[in-house]
């Protein structure tokens, strides 16, 4: 299996897997502690509309998906800050409309035969050099933001009312978290696909949550777990020739069950 590492596309897949795992570990932690999992799902599915638009207009996929996902994040931010009680309705609406727009635009694109499946379940083996730059840039951006604004983001996530009272711009940081989530969702779609994005953003985080006393510890552990699951998942998918995205998620899920079982019977 090790000779597989000599193929450039396998190398790219590994690097992409690790970059996205780190990003989703950090952002997944924020999504879970802020109870935004459903919001992230809405953003992911809205992004599909962007993929359709990019295909239709012949633009780079990442660009189209990012534009739609960030727009979705901004809309969700405005709605949750103004009409919290109707949030689930709006997100459900965006979720469905985004998907519908994507399907229609791809249908309308003449002579386009690439399979939908690659966006729904990921296409990590088709990662290009420029995709890697996008992923690396995003991870660097996330790490810089977390380093300098950690306290504010922690305060807004833990107790937004108190943060507001202490003069922190809660709306700004809330929107920032959503926009970063949107961009992370877009790169995670490349690795595990639209359907499984939420699993990648949450499963490693659930395990890390139980082992962490602090938010940054949770972020680091999530990133590490996510990386391990991704590498093992990729290896299994290569060895048995199965879909990489699904393989990564199943490795994560089995690890979660083992962890929970171990936690219950051994540590108690």
């Amino acid at each position: 299996m090790l000779d597989a590492l000599s193929f450039p596309f396998i190398q790219n897949a590994l690097i992409a897997g690790l970059l996205v795992s780190m990003a989703s570990g950090i952002i997944g932690s924020l999504i879970v502690v802020n109870r935004m999992v459903f919001l992230a799902g809405g953003i992911a599915h809205t992004a599909y509309g962007g993929i359709g638009m990019a295909v239709f207009l012949g633009l780079p996929i990442f660009l189209g998906a990012s534009v739609f996902a960030v727009a979705a994040a901004l809309i969700i931010s405005v709605i949750t800050l103004k009409h919290r009680e109707r949030m689930d309705t709006f997100i459900g609406l965006m979720w469905a409309v985004g998907m519908a727009v994507g399907v229609v635009l791809i249908d309308l694109t003449p002579g386009y035969n690439a399979d939908f499946m690659s966006y729904l379940f990921g296409s990590i083996l088709a990662v290009s050099q420029s995709d890697l730059y996008f992923m690396g840039g995003l991870l660097a951006g996330i790490i810089i933001i977390m380093t300098f604004w950690y306290r504010d983001i922690l305060a807004v996530s833990y107790d937004s009312e108190y943060a507001n009272l202490r003069g922190i711009n809660v709306k700004f940081f809330y929107t920032l978290i959503l926009v970063l989530s949107a961009l992370t969702v877009v790169v995670a779609i490349k690795v595990v696909g639209l359907i499984l994005v939420i699993a990648l953003l949450t499963i490693p985080v659930y395990i890390a949550e139980k082992l962490s006393n602090t938010l940054y510890m949770m972020m680091i552990l999530s990133g590490i777990f996510s990386s391990i699951f991704t590498v093992i998942g990729l290896a299994i998918s290569y060895e048995y020739d199965i879909a990489s995205g699904a393989s990564i998620i199943l490795v994560s899920a089995i690890s979660l069950f083992l962890f929970l079982g171990f936690n219950r019977f051994m540590l108690k």
Binding site: F148, L154, D159, L165, E209, S212, T214, L215
Partner: protein, 236 residues
Amino acid sequence: MTVIEIKNLSFSYHKQKILENINLTVKEKDFLAIIGPNGGGKSTLLKLILGINPVKEGTIRTFGEVPKKNLSKIGYVPQNTNVNTDFPIKVIEVVLMGHIGTKKPLFGYAKEETMCAMGALAQVGMEKFANVKIGELSGGQRQRVMIARALCAHPQILILDEPTSSIDIDGQKQIYELLKELNNYITIIVVSHDISVIMKYANSVVHINKKLTHHDTSSSNHFCEVEMFNRFKEKK
């Protein structure tokens, strides 16, 4: 010295009057209890004093200025501290949030800030728990941590919203004993249901149910309790 002065204050939410013509003066080192039924406007009044809700009718002055100007002089302990108990955060980090808004380093926490936060924890008797996850504490302990967070900013007024609503009797007593001690040098305002406990510690009580009732008015159902209390205090 007057620290809070409220004049002819009214507040409406969705066209419904929540507070009507409130007049209240709080003096330095007062221990004021605000009682009243649920939905009577107690928490709304606090939010107006804290500048969270904007004042539209009437005036509020804290230290002679509009509330927004003096936020750092007022410590606030919110109502329900049992939310978000899964959150991965250590006690010391919660307390350090009290510093936010003042000058802070580029990243991480400055040494003086950590020292000050430890000091605040010691004040409430929780310094041993500094590195424990907040969710592992009992309700009463968590409440003390929230008080330490408010103290971290060295406030001159401490405002607490239902500080003992989810705490057992022993815990409640400890919280009030702590407040009594703090009252030696800061003004305390407590919103509470529980009149029996408050009677031992507060030196004045007002009742709020849309309107504010001092002991000398006679229009409220709760007139008796407030009246009794203030007479009781005068005798002492």
